[in-house]
């Protein structure tokens, strides 16, 4: 039988994969996508708990997370699009004009 542990484990693994993606990639778009992955891993956990408690709250928060993800994607991509006008590549470690 599937137990809560399964969901938690899956969530943790996906989260770590996402985190690893954020940490090691230089391409900003992929970093953004990795963040989406991290957010989704939280969704998995929430849904798992929702199932655990037989309660809707987890799903409600999953919906909020999707909302936040959508907002994040919109703003993040807008930033990237405007960044892309000035420079060819979208490597995060090259975007350092504001550094001290």
């Amino acid at each position: 039988m599937v137990s809560l542990t399964h969901y938690l484990a899956l969530g943790a693994i996906v989260f770590v994969i996402g985190a690893a993606g954020v940490l090691m990639r230089r391409n900003a778009i992929i970093i953004l996508m990795s963040i989406e992955l991290m957010l989704n891993s939280v969704n998995i956990t929430l849904v798992g708990f929702s199932r655990q408690w037989g309660d809707m709250t987890g799903q409600v928060f999953a919906i909020f997370i999707i909302t936040v993800a959508a907002a994040e994607a919109a703003v993040g991509l807008a930033i990237l699009v405007s960044l892309n006008r000035d420079r060819t590549a979208l490597n995060v470690d090259e975007v350092n004009l504001l550094k001290w």
Binding site: H6, R26, L37, N43, A71, A78
Partner: protein
């Protein structure tokens, strides 16, 4: 049966997301992410969250990822394919990630033995209800957070427009 599907979907998720994280081509990464989301919605259906599963497809796959694809196409992707893909710290990052997974694994494995979890049932309950139940919770108890979320979306929308708009020369 359920367990079988769960493992299938989990394998899909993990595999696709690993591929996504490592692709050099952004388009491929995005498509793999979509695939990941499909598997995830499968997981959601298994957990009885039908509505969430559909939302996952509709919003994530059908909405957000299209936005990604759209943006990617607006940018120049060929250049970045040929550049160095990984960050200087990636070795440490991978190492830390692996250790973290190991640690989580250990924690979960030792699950019930912690005093805080005494008497905690790790077995899943019944599926928690249908769309109607979700709606009634969302629009009553969580109405205020819901409105806040809508304001957030509005702000994000305006922000995105402002950021992406080209300044028009007089």
């Amino acid at each position: 049966m359920e367990l079988l599907f769960f493992y299938m979907f989990s394998a899909g998720i993990i595999g696709a997301s690993l591929l996504m994280v490592t692709r050099a081509n952004v388009i491929h990464a995005a498509l793999l992410l979509v695939l990941t989301f499909f598997f995830m919605s499968g997981i959601f259906i298994l957990a009885g969250a039908e509505f969430l599963a559909v939302v996952q497809v509709l919003l994530y796959a059908g909405g957000i990822m299209v936005l990604y694809l759209f943006s990617i196409m607006l940018m120049n992707v060929e250049v970045s394919v040929r550049l160095r893909q990984y960050h200087r710290q990636s070795f440490f990052a991978v190492a830390a990630s692996l250790i973290l997974i190991f640690e989580v694994w250990t924690v979960l494995g030792r699950g019930g033995s912690y005093p805080a979890f005494k008497g905690f049932s790790w077995q899943l309950g019944a599926t928690p209800g249908n769309v109607e139940a979700l709606g009634s919770v969302l629009y009553t108890k969580y109405l205020f957070p819901f409105e806040v979320a809508s304001i957030l979306l509005l702000a994000a929308m305006i922000g995105a427009i402002v950021l992406a708009k080209r300044t028009i020369d007089r």
